[in-house]
């Protein structure tokens, strides 16, 4: 097909504009399994460098766990590499249904349906269960995948201010005339690390006959006393109508996701959700690995307990060092820098010190709220956290931000 110079120039201009705006994303090549200690090639062609990973979603340290790897090998041998089919034609093995049963039991729901990813689960769930007569009311900071799913659905969409329950109630009243109302939130918000007020949301849902959907991707496996998720932490197990979650983070970190919840809603997804209907089944090797993860988590809370202790240790260390943090009690600990360039310079200086942590800035987070998002893992040992803390303090001193308030940092570096 035609790809003349003028089209090439157009795209080259777009790429350059992204570079000029300082928004160009570059991958860093990791030459080792995912873990607390990794070997990285960055920039491309540079010699390998051993660094401590402080920014993965490998919350439980199971991504390269020997038992999970072994189970995946066994699954590969016994069930093969691929299924060459979507689920409903000839892509469902016994282990797919087994994993759905395990997730239903773990999450305390009525039924579960696997999707190729949680992005796909979120993309498909709304149009499968809602119509133009309904309304979706979402927190203003929900994950991009929820926003995409909402966009694909014909129901009306409105938002409420982040975690503002009075505002949510106003919206439930405003849309009282709609056939169905669905409130949508992340369980733990990925950029800030705070937890949705699910107990209050369930109460509002009961008062106004609204369903509640929670994306628990940054919670499943470790939030709550036995790691079931934010619904366990908030004391509302069995009261969330739909939970979407991923196997791509704490639960082995490979890929795949699911919709879990009320039986009829899950069945509607099985009948109508397009990413389920038109995309391949999760590979047997991944399903086998996740089944082992669920076995490990059901047998003991040791890993989530260690993660909780690690996260508290890390947060305390950073606080005492004088960093400005986002409030929270999850393994996501954002170190606030406010200025976009500062976040990039800080990240680079950390890398020079052997610490891998990424700076986030607009449009990933709101304007003027740039940060280093640190993520703690049960795979971290105290010596990892101590070394990372030393590096943060060294770099924090270099940029003169320790003990400084938000206003003082903004005064020095701008928004």
């Amino acid at each position: 097909m035609a790809y003349p110079e003028k089209i090439r120039n157009l795209y080259q201009g777009l790429v350059k504009a992204i570079q000029d705006a300082g928004l160009f994303k570059q991958e860093r090549f990791i030459h080792s399994p995912q873990a607390a200690d990794i070997e990285v090639e960055f920039p491309a062609g540079a010699p390998l460098k051993k660094v401590i990973n402080m920014c993965s979603n490998n919350y439980l340290g199971l991504s390269s766990h020997p038992d999970v790897v072994k189970a995946a090998h066994e699954g590969l041998e016994s069930r093969g590499y691929g299924m060459s089919s979507v689920r409903f034609i000839c892509g469902t093995q016994d282990i797919h249904r087994e994993l759905e049963r395990r997730m239903t039991e773990f999450l305390g729901t009525e039924d579960t349906l696997l999707f190729p990813s949680c992005m796909d689960a979120n993309a498909g769930v709304f149009e499968a269960v809602l119509t133009k007569d309904d309304v979706m009311i979402s927190d203003r900071l929900v994950h991009a995948s929820l926003i995409d799913g909402i966009r694909l659905c014909s129901a009306m969409h409105d938002t409420y201010k982040h975690s503002d329950m009075a505002h949510l109630e106003e919206k439930l009243q405003l849309h009282a005339d709609k056939r169905l109302k669905m409130v949508i939130t992340d369980g733990v918000f990925s950029m800030d690390g705070d937890t949705a007020k699910l107990d209050e949301m369930v109460a509002l849902g009961e008062k106004y006959d609204a369903m509640l959907l929670v994306d628990d991707s940054h919670s499943s496996g470790f939030i709550g006393k036995t790691g079931r998720g934010t619904h366990e932490k908030c004391g509302v197990m069995g009261k969330i109508d739909i939970i979407t979650t991923t196997f791509g983070k704490a639960l082995g970190g490979a890929s795949g996701g699911c919709v879990s919840g009320r039986r009829e809603l899950v069945e509607m997804c099985r009948q109508r959700a397009r990413p389920y209907l038109f995309s391949n089944t999760i590979a047997p090797v991944v399903v086998s690995g996740v089944l082992k993860v669920m076995e490990i988590l059901s047998a003991s809370t040791e890993r989530r307990d260690k993660l909780e202790k690690n996260a508290a240790y890390w947060r305390k260390g950073l606080t005492e060092a004088g960093f400005v943090l986002r409030e929270g009690d999850t393994p996501i600990v954002p170190v606030m820098l406010f200025n976009a360039k500062l976040s990039q310079d800080f990240s680079k200086a950390l890398y020079d010190e052997g610490i891998y942590a990424i700076g986030f800035f607009f449009p990933v987070v709101p304007q003027g709220q740039a940060r280093i998002r640190t993520q703690i893992s049960a795979g971290h040992e105290i010596h990892h956290l101590d070394r990372a803390l030393d590096a943060f303090i060294k770099v924090g001193k270099k940029f003169n931000i320790l003990g400084k308030t938000k206003q003082e940092i903004i005064q020095m570096y701008g928004m």
């Binding site: 009306m156 969409h157 405003l174």
Partner: protein
């Protein structure tokens, strides 16, 4: 219509602005200025429809027509006028 612009301004301020934001005026670009996203326009539209007992068709509720308090007031007056 008396007070219409003030009512819209008050609603937009309460609904969309954070506590430390710059105050708005009747001409502040709301959507093109990134203050209101197209998703959040829905609540403003519904608020106006409920408050003034009108129906604004979707093809009239464009980002352009909702881009400032002055423009929104023109739109609302058009439909309140039709109703009368």
């Amino acid at each position: 219509m008396e007070g219409l612009k003030d009512i819209i301004l008050q609603y937009v301020t309460k609904e969309y602005l954070e506590d430390d934001s710059e105050p708005l005026n009747f001409d502040t670009p709301l959507i093109s200025g990134g203050i209101v996203d197209s998703f959040s326009m829905v609540s403003l539209k519904r608020f106006l429809e409920n408050r003034y007992n009108i129906q604004i068709p979707d093809d009239k509720a464009t980002p352009e027509a909702f881009d400032s308090v002055n423009k929104i007031a023109v739109l609302v007056e058009e439909f309140v006028g039709k109703k009368g």
